[in-house]
């Protein structure tokens, strides 16, 4: 560990020469190795693409260290397409202009079926630890971060909003403030014998041609009801029995991955946060799940900020990362 730290210091010293001035946020699309993803049954690459966006002045100030905001993207598209929409560098520039210099990091959360849900299972891989352990360690080892929870924020959109609350609950002490945007998957997903049969009947061609709603059921099942013994290449347990009924264990596994269901066990982690925020558009199809989750937070007395804004599931995300999310972390993350 010490050797790694010393090596990292050497690396930083080597790259830190202020040759070229950095006047605007710099977008680095690079990759890191995640041991947590090794051996997953979908063949998702443990060498993960990652955006690291350093703020203006990063090169000119080789002794300066920065807080980090980790951002988790949503389902369906890989990180590069997400960054096209999010334009994280513009948010980092705006934050810097306000005196709030941060490094922003967005790992690739894509998988064989278009999203790993930042969860943990043998079929898709342990995306949760990929973020909370491997990515954080790699960023701290390779960039001039303030390597402490007080200077780490976690945020995400949709599937990434789910990942934000999941990782905060299950990995206390890594991130000190969190921001969930339009979070998906808060109430438990429910499988029926019919939906199980539909998934089992999907051919590779069906899967390749599947639209959002058709594929999401399979993607979440692969994540939350994995089955390494499955004879098919899906490696999922749909719960469909030979007699056409559904094994209740499948819905129990899905429940055990629902933040709404898990909440009472993980209150200490949420109550220990420095700050917690959620937002969602008033035309978002996920409004109901978010309302249920907020009602539970209220019932258990969890403190959080909330905003319902005019918008749908995706039309104002880039804007709000810039105008809401980074200012929120600017208020709460420790900086030197």
């Amino acid at each position: 560990m010490l050797r790694k730290f010393v090596a990292a210091l050497g690396l930083m010293a080597a790259c830190a020469s202020p040759a070229a001035a950095q006047e605007a946020a710099r977008v680095n699309w690079t990759s890191f190795h995640s041991p947590a993803l090794e051996g997953n049954l979908e063949g998702n690459d443990p060498q993960r693409g990652v955006y690291v966006i350093t703020p203006p002045g990063y090169d000119e100030n080789p002794d300066r260290r920065y807080p980090v905001v980790y951002y988790l993207h949503g389902y369906w598209a890989a990180a590069p397409a997400q960054q096209e929409g999010f334009r994280l560098h513009e948010a980092v520039d705006a934050a810097s202009a306000a005196g709030n210099e941060v490094i922003m990091v967005m790992p690739d959360g894509y998988s064989r079926f278009r999203g790993g849900f930042y969860s943990s299972g043998p079929t898709v891989g342990d995306y949760e630890s990929m973020v909370a352990r491997d990515l954080v360690g790699w960023v701290d080892g390779n960039y001039r971060t303030i390597a402490a929870p007080a200077s780490r924020g976690l945020a995400g959109h949709s599937m990434g909003g789910y990942g934000t609350i999941r990782i905060a609950m299950k990995n206390p002490g890594v991130f000190s403030s969190i921001y969930m945007m339009s979070a998906c998957c808060l109430p438990p997903m429910e499988m029926t014998a019919e939906s199980a049969a539909t998934i089992e009947a999907m051919t590779p061609e069906d899967i390749a041609a599947a639209q959002f709603g058709q594929l999401a059921g399979l993607s979440t099942l692969a994540t939350w009801s994995p089955d390494p013994q499955d004879q098919s290449t899906l490696k999922v347990d749909t719960g469909l029995r030979a007699d056409g009924t559904l094994d209740p264990l499948v819905n129990q596994r899905l429940a055990a991955n629902s933040p709404l269901v898990l909440l009472p066990q993980y209150l200490p982690a949420l109550n220990a946060l420095e700050a917690f925020a959620m937002d969602i558009g008033d035309k978002d199809f996920l409004l109901e799940g978010n309302a249920q989750f907020r009602a539970e937070l209220d019932r258990f007395g969890v403190e959080y900020e909330f905003e319902l804004y005019e918008g749908d599931h995706g039309n104002r995300i880039a804007e709000r990362i810039r105008t809401e999310v980074l200012p929120f972390f600017g208020n709460h993350l420790y900086r030197e």
Binding site: A36, S119, S120, G121, P122, D126, S129, K170, P188, W224, S225, P226, D227, P228, Q229, D237, P248, L249, N251, Q252, R253, A255, A256, N257, S258, L260, V261, L262, P264, Q265, Y266, L267, P268, R299, F300, G301
Partner: protein, 345 residues
């Protein structure tokens, strides 16, 4: 040995009607063994709505060489008791000092720690609950930190084992899965509560009809249900039990409550905690063939097998209680010695 048998007999008869909690005669403390009953405060337990004490008695059993070797550090086994028994009575019943002495005589020196988690409903379920207290975190973080700060432990993951019986076997699995960084190896004896509890509208209504002042006399099975309910589906706004019963307003079973119970069942947790379970140096499960829990425990053995989690598994000739103390002495501790960092003399 006589006392052990007496304890077994007591356990067998002490379950009925009004007596509630199981007691046992004092454990034999062999020469050379030091036992300290310490009070450990848990910030995790403060403010719980049942009024359970946030300061818990913890039986700490030190091996024979502990005093004579002031430089030596020892591995620690955290041993979790079952339902409707205190930590001290479980320590007595299991003859923990004798187990520590006999293992030390064979060259295996451990500190064994038995925390008390007896609550108003008869047991914490080693879960986090605003109603009962956050016992899952208390065991996985605060108790471990207390031991490392106050005793010459081997203060690393490799120096810690976690074991327990019945509700404590359940606790071993759930504390282990959610705090894998704390423990090197885990052994669940006759674990309870493996598969999700379900209710009919009638049984849910019966549970909801128990008066708070009558909970103590509700019988072992009902009390276990009440303890599970308050541990897994607490509601800070619903006195006097501060619980969501699994009963919806319209008289049907409440699916969110059952989902919460399910999410706390080790069987449903395995698939999401494969990485945690694989991270242990050793995992072990055992249960008696004459134990009513053998079917449930077989299910989690099968689920672990399905997910490729290596583990020791044995169904032995015995009941829920008759062999557990002897097996802790002759099997659990020797197995832990094969897995843990035992330190150097």
């Amino acid at each position: 040995m006589l006392k052990y048998l007496a304890g077994a007999a007591l356990l067998a008869i002490a379950v009925p009607a009004a007596a509630q909690n199981i007691t046992a005669p004092d454990a034999v403390v062999p020469a050379g063994i030091t036992v300290q009953a310490v009070m450990v405060h848990g910030a995790s337990l403060e403010g719980n709505l049942e009024g359970n004490s946030a300061t818990r008695e913890v039986m700490v059993v030190l091996p024979p060489s502990y005093t004579a070797n002031p430089e030596r550090h020892y591995p620690v086994i955290y041993y979790l008791h079952g339902f409707a028994i205190s930590g001290r009575d479980f320590y007595d019943y299991m003859q923990v000092p004798t187990a520590v002495a006999e293992n030390a005589a064979a060259g295996r020196e451990f500190i064994v720690v038995v925390p008390d988690t007896l609550t108003a409903m008869g047991g914490s379920m080693y879960s986090n609950s605003v109603t009962t207290g956050n016992f899952r975190d208390f065991i996985g973080t605060e108790l471990v930190a207390y031991m490392d700060a106050n005793y010459r432990t081997i203060p690393t993951r490799e120096g810690r084992g976690l074991a327990g019986h019945s509700m404590g076997g359940y606790g071993t699995l759930v504390v282990g899965m959610t705090h894998p960084e704390a423990f090197d190896s885990i052994w669940a004896q006759s674990a309870c509560c493996i598969s999700a509890r379900s209710e009919t509208p009638e049984s849910a209504a019966a549970m909801a009809a128990v008066p708070r002042e009558g909970a103590d006399a509700a019988g072992f099975g009902m009390r276990a249900g009440l303890a599970s309910a308050v541990a897994w589906a607490p509601n800070p706004q619903k006195p006097p039990f501060f619980v969501d019963w699994p009963l919806a307003a319209d008289g049907t079973v409440d699916p969110l409550v059952l989902a919460r119970w399910a999410a706390n069942s080790p069987l449903a947790m395995v698939s999401g905690h494969v990485a945690a379970l694989e991270s242990f140096d050793g995992v072990a499960l055992d249960v008696g063939a004459q134990d009513g829990l053998v079917r449930d425990d077989t299910l989690i053995h099968e689920e672990m097998t399905k997910f490729g989690i290596e583990h020791f598994w044995e169904v032995y000739e015995g009941t829920h209680t008759d062999k557990i103390g002897a097996r802790f002495n002759t099997l659990v501790l020797p197995w832990m010695a094969e897995h843990l960092d035992m330190g150097t003399e």
